[in-house]
């Protein structure tokens, strides 16, 4: 009877790397790195979005304080100071809307500092006008001069100074997030290097044999790199997917600042960055394994 033809296993593994580079520890460690990287990426994207949000809000708003609002304006024909300032604001170019806060709103604003005393009508409080601007907003200093002429002592407060400080804080958070990403990438390189070295030690005899049979450094390095790339990609996908619920939770926590939580509302750079994480993990696996194996092989003649 004719013997059955020998069938080669579908997946060739000349060096036995399926055992030497196991499919548990390396993907698990890379998954942990990808999870941390996803959080850092979200931190960076979130900080960037907040900075943008604050800056857009600050550029679109002013607060105007009018002391002794009921006193006559500089030009008696203009009536009370508050009404004169409001009228000037509403006709000023670049102002979308100007509205004086009600005494109740003013008291609510002051409550953290003055308690219920803020509601005392005997307290000489300035009137406060909330001004919303269009994109081509007027220069706050020019506006201050104009309003000061109508009602001396009127104060125009741009939100820019506070927002500039907050933006600096946001950018610092962003910088920290990028630093964390760099550290995570460095640790991932170290993890892949250690796993590859362990694989080299475990398969030393097989490597020396195929080297003796005429295998090039590239052939051996490709075998390791292919395995490490697959395992790192697997770990990257697992870690990124594991981070999604946490990112959803963070988005819910940030909702008061950024709007209602929704995956589609995540910052665009995060939506691009998250799918790129497994690819970055795979690239780290490939390059690190190639470099480690080629360096190791230099000890052979």
């Amino acid at each position: 009877m004719a013997e059955p033809p020998y069938r080669r296993p579908r997946r060739s593994d000349d060096l036995g790397l399926r055992h030497a580079l196991g499919d548990r520890m390396l993907p698990l460690l890379v998954a942990a790195m990808a999870f941390l990287a996803a959080l850092a990426l979200a931190g960076s994207a979130g900080a960037a979005a907040l900075v943008r949000h604050w800056q857009e809000g600050a550029a679109a708003a002013l607060t105007v304080q009018v002391p002794t609002p009921a006193a006559p304006a500089a030009a008696p024909a203009e009536g009370e100071r508050l009404a004169a300032v409001l009228a000037a604001l509403q006709s000023a170019p670049g102002v979308a809307a100007a509205r004086a806060l009600t005494p109740a709103e003013l008291a609510a604003l002051l409550r953290p500092w003055l308690g219920t005393a803020g509601s005392d009508p005997a307290l000489p409080l300035p009137a406060v006008i909330a001004v919303h601007l269009v994109p081509a907003a007027p220069d706050p200093d020019a506006l201050q001069d104009q309003l000061g002429r109508i009602a001396p002592g009127t104060l125009v407060e741009s939100h820019g100074v506070w927002v500039a400080r907050l933006a600096r804080l946001g950018r610092s958070v962003q910088g920290c997030a990028w630093l964390v990403l760099a550290v995570v990438a460095a640790v991932a390189v170290a993890v892949v290097t250690a796993a590859t070295r362990a694989g080299l030690a475990a398969r030393r005899e097989a490597i020396e044999l195929v080297h003796g049979l005429g295998a090039t450094d590239g052939y051996i390095a490709r075998r390791f790199a292919r395995r490490a790339t697959w395992l790192a990609l697997l770990g990257g996908v697992i870690g990124t997917l594991a981070a999604l619920p946490v990112l959803g939770l963070l988005a819910a926590l940030a909702a008061p600042f950024t709007g209602p939580p929704d995956l589609a509302m995540l910052p665009a750079d995060l939506l691009v960055g998250l799918p790129a994480l497994p690819l970055a993990a795979a690239a780290i696996g490939f390059v690190t394994a190639q470099a480690t194996v080629r360096r190791w092989l230099r000890r052979l003649p």
Partner: protein, 223 residues
């Protein structure tokens, strides 16, 4: 084909020198030549075969294989030379996770032979060494003699220009040893240079031929 000019081999490295195992060897084995390699245990036979297999570089002197000065050749040039050398190791050195078929196929695949052309040659070689029924078996499931035959099949499947064998009959019965010698002679007749290290005096007596004799790492007879 193989030319040694005052070749010495010392194991170890620059920081920690090991023992000098070969001293000032000079000989030539011409293309298509046959040599027995003889000498007592520890004489340096295996070290000389390792040198010829390009597993180590000479510490001193010049070693020419296929006309290339292997002591100074670039690393990148050596794999192509190694692919023209077949080696039967004393301890077989089969890859334990691969079947007999895949062990024998390894040199062909490393040489870039298309898979469709690998199978017929490997099957033929395994049939020749009497293992056509054991193609899928892994080394752990094979006897010592069967492993030896797989190692022999792997060494010759690529029709090497230089065939080196280190005690190739150590695990074979007389009939298998004779069969192996016929294979080596046939390869030699077809143009391969063959060097066989052995302790088996009876085998040498049955197949007389020129011999290199080593003692304590020195060549004491060349012919």
């Amino acid at each position: 084909m193989v030319r040694l000019e005052e070749v010495s081999l010392q194991y170890g490295n620059a920081r920690r020198a090991g023992p000098m195992v070969l001293h000032d060897l000079s000989f030539i084995v011409p293309e298509g030549g046959f040599r027995w390699l003889r000498g007592p245990s520890g004489a340096g036979k295996t070290s000389l075969l390792r040198l010829l297999h390009l597993a180590v570089r000479p510490s001193r002197g010049r070693l020419f294989v296929f006309g290339s000065d292997t002591g100074v050749a670039r690393r990148a040039e050596l794999p192509a030379l190694r692919r023209r050398i077949g080696m039967v190791f004393q301890d077989f050195r089969l890859l334990t996770h691969l079947s007999a078929f895949d062990n024998v196929a390894l040199p062909l695949r490393l040489a870039g032979r298309p898979e469709a052309k690998v199978a017929p040659d490997v099957a033929e070689m395994l049939r020749w060494v009497g293992l056509s029924a054991r193609m899928a078996a892994r080394p752990a499931a094979l006897s010592g003699g069967e492993q030896q035959r797989v190692a022999i099949a792997r060494a010759v499947v690529g029709r090497p220009s230089l065939l080196l064998a280190d005690e190739p009959t150590g695990n074979l019965d007389d009939a298998q040893a004779e069969r192996l010698m016929r294979l080596l002679k046939e390869m030699n007749r077809l143009g391969a240079t063959v060097i066989v290290a052995t302790h088996n005096a009876a085998l040498v007596a049955r197949h007389p031929g020129p011999a290199l004799r080593l003692e304590q790492g020195r060549l004491i007879d060349d012919g």
